[in-house]
């Protein structure tokens, strides 16, 4: 029978480094995904993710299972990310939604006949726009949205990680999604033609 995360961590506390490897294997990718969405740059996100695991390893002797392991893990990750953003360490990574794509992501310059390349380019621009809009959110709203949307956490767990009540979290999420809805209106609003068509039918 598979051991729970808490049991694995208790085994790490008892000196079992293999259990630490299992936790690393399980949470490496979700943590890097979370931190990539918080600070954009992958190198910075990996650096922060390593710092999270380093802290978990260092704190193993003092570990007591008072909450879910993921709550503890993402609490460390969120605090590290928020501190790094507030310190300005990753300020250069705060991109504008209107900013041009990275140098390695060229603008629309390919011949029209290369439909596949064009599609890829459009998709890349679209992803860049969405990532940019998320990165433009205030840090706490950004963390709430990423944990809610991409990590499917429930309100109680996100509330514990961000240190706020469930009702405060719901309000925070509403404001964040409302901002994103407005910022990404181009992608989420119903096409005008469709709306007009409905109007005619009425």
């Amino acid at each position: 029978m598979a051991r729970s995360d808490v049991q694995l961590m208790l085994d790490v506390k008892a000196g079992d480094d293999v259990s630490f490897e299992l936790l690393l294997h399980k949470y490496r990718t979700p943590l890097v995904h979370f931190l990539c969405r918080m600070v954009k740059d992958q190198a910075a996100a990996e650096d922060l993710a390593q710092e999270v695991f380093l802290r978990v390893y260092r704190a193993r002797k003092e570990y007591s299972p008072s909450a879910k392991f993921t709550t503890w893990l993402f609490c460390i990750a969120t605090n590290l990310a928020l501190n790094a953003i507030r310190d300005g360490r990753y300020r250069q990574m705060q991109i504008s939604i209107d900013a041009p794509a990275d140098d390695d992501e060229p603008a629309f310059q390919l011949p029209a006949r290369e439909a596949r390349a064009d599609d890829r380019l459009i998709e890349r621009e679209r992803n860049q726009m969405i990532r940019g809009a998320i990165l433009m959110l205030p840090e706490k709203q950004r963390a709430a949205v990423v944990l809610h949307k991409y990590h499917d956490m429930d309100y109680a767990e996100i509330g514990k990680i961000l240190g706020c009540s469930e009702s405060a979290l719901k309000s925070l999420l509403f404001r964040a999604y409302e901002t994103l809805r407005v910022q990404l209106a181009l992608l989420v609003a119903r096409p005008a033609a469709q709306t007009a068509g409905e109007g005619k039918r009425i």
């Binding site: 490496r28 890097v32 990996e46 993710a49 380093l54 260092r58 969405i130 990532r131 009702s167 992608l187």
Partner: protein, 165 residues
């Protein structure tokens, strides 16, 4: 219910985590409010659009670099207990520094001029002790205090010279 009041329940309604009562309130409002229906629909589309964005995978050397960091990380030092609470450590250090500074300043705060004036006053008081212990002086003070004020008759010579002038 107003659009503003259902806003906090709208996200929970859309992600399927709303309670039965919350769901009932939101559904009743959405039936009546076209603007909120449109907003709810846009939130759904927003989540679809967001789900399409992939996140970068950890690089191949991630584990190896982490193991190296763990191996080279310094062992906990004598003052390692302070590291989890740097603010507390800073406050303690500041308090100690302040105490040392105040302690070092205190002897210097005695002004040498004040000290000299004080010792001179003490010397004068000791010097006057002889006068205070002299019985004659003390008895004279008593005699003076017994004299009736301005009732003594003036000498006749003084009276004569005064009227002649």
């Amino acid at each position: 219910m107003s659009c503003e009041k259902i806003s906090n329940s709208l996200i929970a309604y859309l992600d399927g985590r709303a309670s039965d009562s919350e769901r009932g309130v939101v559904e009743a409002h959405l039936k009546l409010c076209a603007a909120c229906r449109e907003r709810a629909e846009e939130f759904r589309r927003l989540w679809q659009v967001m789900a399409e964005v992939p996140a970068a995978e950890p690089s191949l050397g991630f584990d190896a670099r982490l193991r190296q960091r763990i191996a080279t990380a310094p062992r906990s030092k004598f003052w390692g207990w302070m590291l989890p609470a740097p603010r507390f450590a800073f406050s303690v250090a500041l308090l100690v520094a302040l105490s040392i500074w105040v302690g070092a300043r205190q002897p210097r705060s005695v002004n040498p001029q004040n000290a000299a004036a004080k010792s001179e006053e003490q010397f004068r008081m000791i010097n006057n002790l002889g006068v205070l212990e002299n019985y004659d002086v003390l008895s004279n003070f008593d005699a003076l205090s017994d004299l009736p004020a301005s009732t003594e008759p003036q000498p006749a010579s003084e009276q004569g010279s005064g009227s002649g002038g």
